[in-house]
Symmetry: C2
Subunit: 575 residues, 2 copies
């Protein structure tokens, strides 16, 4: 393709509205343009990348035996009422009424639709296992769309749904999808981790997320330096399980701590390590007030807390509100003598007892021991793990933390939808059996942004070969020079015949502009057509990743470039 | 692919809800399933056909120099307010509010969005011509969705929009699209006609529709037996332009015609050919009552009438209402002496004058001549042409009528949107110039249905090779016979390596069921694996179109089948 005939509106300046690198670079390289908050038009260059991802996803899903279907964006409310989600989904569901005043939504996901299809069309266990996928436009009415397409409202997703006769068979389907996902991200040329994930309010069975590693990621993931353990921070647990045991701590004491409010202030005033203090957090939930007790230096993970408490709403009220609710200032709240239900992190069972607020302004208690000084609460993991803690799975590893961008999620749904919607098959004995489901999502458009977050430098995008809109860019120094354009055309033609996509910058622009745009758009291999080297019968091939240029004669250029493309693709071939 | 592992839920019976062949066969062959009125899920077999069409459309659009983009389904109301369509589009526009109570619609078309993009990103005439296309999901809230996906609500469309600096340049863009469309339908293997079409209320410039010929088509199109003239009935004109001329007709006379109301009754009572009578039709429009006068045997075309009158609403009131409005019974209305504005078809200027109602029950006038007996009205083409009439373009041809299904529409938009939305570029002299637009649509999903309407028999679909979900079907007589399955696998593998897609019917079903399903699903080439011929070292290849089977040895089968596929595709290759 020719640059001059393609809309690639590159920008010199960083758009002020873009807060993250991928959003900035997608705008600057002319991949997308915003139509409305969280709604983007994909321009030619961006769409080519999106299609690359789509093709890889499709090929690997087909290879894994999934069947492609296409469900529609507009879904009738009746199905969502059957599953119970019409009432519960909330405002992210874009609802509408058709001309006959019937309720519909713009589907953010398709569990209901596929379950409805399967219950109508599948009768016998002999037809199982089944796995249907689609690559389709979704809408989620995010309250604050941000980061460009990373958290947009309309986006492209691959969603798949498996149907099995029992949980053992689901396990096989789940593993096949897990492997397919590994193949997909591998082929995309991305550094990624599959991590154990929180199953959230859907409950029950297991779930994994796939994260592209990038400093700017919204999620934190923990992995072991030794074994394969990896989990989202919402799920990661520490191997550190110290509990009160040896020796007898001093008796509990009540000590005045005037104007000492924070953990740090109290710890330094009492000359007690922070690790020997606890913090008592009052949270409001739909089940009422709860006091969460954690070690002073630990950080509450709200998702863990919600799962532990079995609630869907959890807020940490402002200090004034806490005082209103408890009659005690925030810094002095503690578990001893309170009437509020207590749930404590196991890390508060420290040998030697702990320091906590005395439920009176200006006073704290020391050497507090569960069971001795106050009733033992329910202990449940409530906190974020930290780097360097021991792995919960193996003996010798420690945890390291990464930032990640979630691009895939596989999930054992179980019978949640099939039961609510009565999706059954007849088993070997002619008896009805509720189907066991899995669901498997990939954020196709999000992968494009995640790839940029992971692969860029100060000058622009550095596309992995498999995702690049074009693999080769020809930069014609002077497009008015007929001989140069002929050389470019010959190269284009030769490469195109071998399936290599070429963008030729034939614009009548200053050379500096062309080099800047070449860096910005991030096409992996760049060939300058013109200048001294061509006169000397040489072509210089520069990789966008840097390194020394490769020199080829024009006769060898097609084969040489083709091989360079193939080599990088082969590195990431799925097994 | 294996039949046993693919959801192809064929049906023995005709679904009662399906009124047209394509709807029936798409359900019966397991291509689609209805989710809701006019909303269909595409199952694996149907989706494969949809993707074939999509690929052909994409390749030909790319070849024509159009740039692919992807705009979103959800569009903000503001843009539609700028173009004026928010108020005028009516109930086919599915409207919704987001969580912040802002107005949006599910786009039925994207003129506003693309014009907004271009006005922001394109500055100079040097960047022109531009032509953007997308293949994207549209929604039109049809009042009566029917005929399956033929008139569904959510559908897949290719829409393209060209931007030029003037009408001459638009003409070039338009012709390029016209040629691309011919290539597309040709490659799809469909018999089609490009016809001149009504430009409707958008007015002004020219427009062509592309119709797939099929008896069940909703549209009638006229074409010349001699020259290239072809037009939608709404636009087709006759070469028959007889006007009053030679000789002097008899004087006008008033004759009693007791109880003669219809044209036929009057004509036979007066012994005057129907061709010498006229009918006077009272129509109600937003501009008031109008009397339309046509020759007795001619049929009013309401679209022509609306265009002629410049109105957007036109109804033919019930007889009682006509009597109320005019004081005259329907059968006796006529143009002489009326105070209602008259518009007449040129066919009423017959030599010898005409017979018409006398505006009094039981009386008619004969030998009525425009200008002599009543003022000459505005003459404008108001009627349907009929088969056998002379061509308006050439001397020797006559018109023939076909039924057609509209699958494409190309349109010179002019400045309608660019002016309303101020989309301008700077011209050679640095002056702002409003862009001149064209728009070009193809109903991608509709092509699938149209192809079936044109290509089927009593037993099922007969896919054109280019659209077939699989080109070859292997029918394994006894899948429990290992040798047969091995023979099938070898053939699958060989064909797949040559890019031929194979569906193997490996189901444990009666042979009759398999043959019936093979006919129903319409895969072009069928190979029976098993039976006597295989024992004799022969494979019988049967074309779904009929004819004698071809016999090949197993060693030659891959190459032979590959050649058969290529031959049919080559017949329809675009030039």
């Amino acid at each position: 393709m020719r640059f001059s005939q393609t809309l690639i509106p590159t920008l010199r300046e960083n758009p002020v509205e873009a807060q993250v690198v991928s959003h900035r670079l997608m705008l600057r390289a002319g991949l997308i343009r915003q139509l409305n908050a969280g709604i983007y038009t994909w321009l030619p260059l961006g769409l080519r990348v999106l299609r690359r991802v789509e093709t890889i996803v499709r090929q690997e899903m087909d290879r894994a035996g999934a069947q492609e279907v296409l469900m529609r964006a507009v879904q009738p409310a009746e199905l969502w009422e059957e599953s119970g989600r019409w009432a519960h989904y909330g405002k992210e569901l874009l609802r509408m009424k058709d001309r006959h005043d019937r309720d519909f939504c713009f589907g953010p996901t398709h569990e209901e639709v596929i379950t409805d299809l399967v219950r109508r069309e599948v009768r016998s266990y002999k037809q199982l296992p089944l796995n249907f996928y689609q690559i389709q436009t979704k809408f989620r009415d995010e309250i604050r769309p941000r980061f460009g397409i990373m958290r947009g409202r309309e986006f492209l997703m691959k969603d798949a749904y498996s149907f099995d006769k029992d949980v053992e068979a689901l396990d096989v389907s789940y593993k096949a999808m897990f492997a397919a996902y590994q193949g997909i991200f591998q082929r995309c040329g991305l550094e990624f981790r599959a991590v154990e994930a929180d199953t959230g309010s859907i409950g029950g069975a297991s779930s994994h997320e796939f994260h592209v590693l990038a400093e700017s990621g919204e999620d934190t993931i923990a992995s072991c330096t030794n074994c394969g353990y990896a989990a989202n921070l919402e799920k990661a647990v520490s191997g550190d399980t110290e509990v009160a045991s040896d020796g007898t701590p001093e008796p509990m004491a009540r000590i005045e701590t005037p104007n000492k409010r924070t953990i740090e202030e109290v710890s330094s005033f009492l000359k007690v390590p922070v690790e020997q203090t606890v913090k008592s957090l009052i949270v409001e939930t739909e089940e009422g007030l709860i006091m969460l007790v954690l070690r002073g230096d630990h950080v509450l993970n709200e998702v863990k807390a919600m799962n532990a408490l079995g609630v869907t709403q959890l807020t940490l009220p402002e200090p004034e509100r806490v005082r209103e609710l408890t009659g005690v200032p925030v810094g002095s709240i503690g578990p001893v003598g309170t009437e509020i239900t207590i749930v404590a992190d196991p890390g508060t069972q420290m040998a030697g007892g702990f320091v906590c607020g005395a439920n009176e302004a200006g006073w704290h208690l020391t050497n507090v021991v569960w069971e001795r000084d106050l009733p033992a609460p329910r202990f449940v993991d409530l906190r974020n793990v930290t780097a360097g803690e021991p792995c919960p799975r193996c003996d010798s590893g420690t945890l390291v933390l990464h930032r990640g961008i979630e691009v895939g999620h596989v999930f054992k749904l179980g019978e949640k939808y099939s039961q609510a919607m009565n999706a059954v098959v007849l088993d070997e004995n002619g008896r009805e059996k509720t189907l066991v489901m899995g669901c498997y999502g990939i954020g196709v458009s999000r992968i494009v942004a995640a790839a940029i977050e992971q692969n860029h430098d100060d000058n622009g995008i550095i596309w992995p070969m498999a995702l690049a809109p074009f693999q080769v860019m020809l930069l014609v120094i002077n497009p008015k020079d007929k001989a140069l354009m002929e050389a470019a055309s010959a190269l284009e033609k030769g490469l195109s015949a071998k399936g290599v996509d070429v963008l030729t910058d034939d614009r009548d622009e200053r050379l500096g502009v062309k080099f800047k745009d070449a860096d910005l758009t991030g096409i992996p291999l760049r060939v300058v057509i013109g200048g001294r080297s061509l006169k000397e019968g040489k072509l210089e091939i520069q990789s966008r990743r840097g390194g020394d240029p490769t020199t080829l004669s024009p006769d060898d250029a097609v084969e040489g470039l083709y091989q360079m493309v193939q080599q990088e693709l082969a590195l990431n071939a799925s097994s």
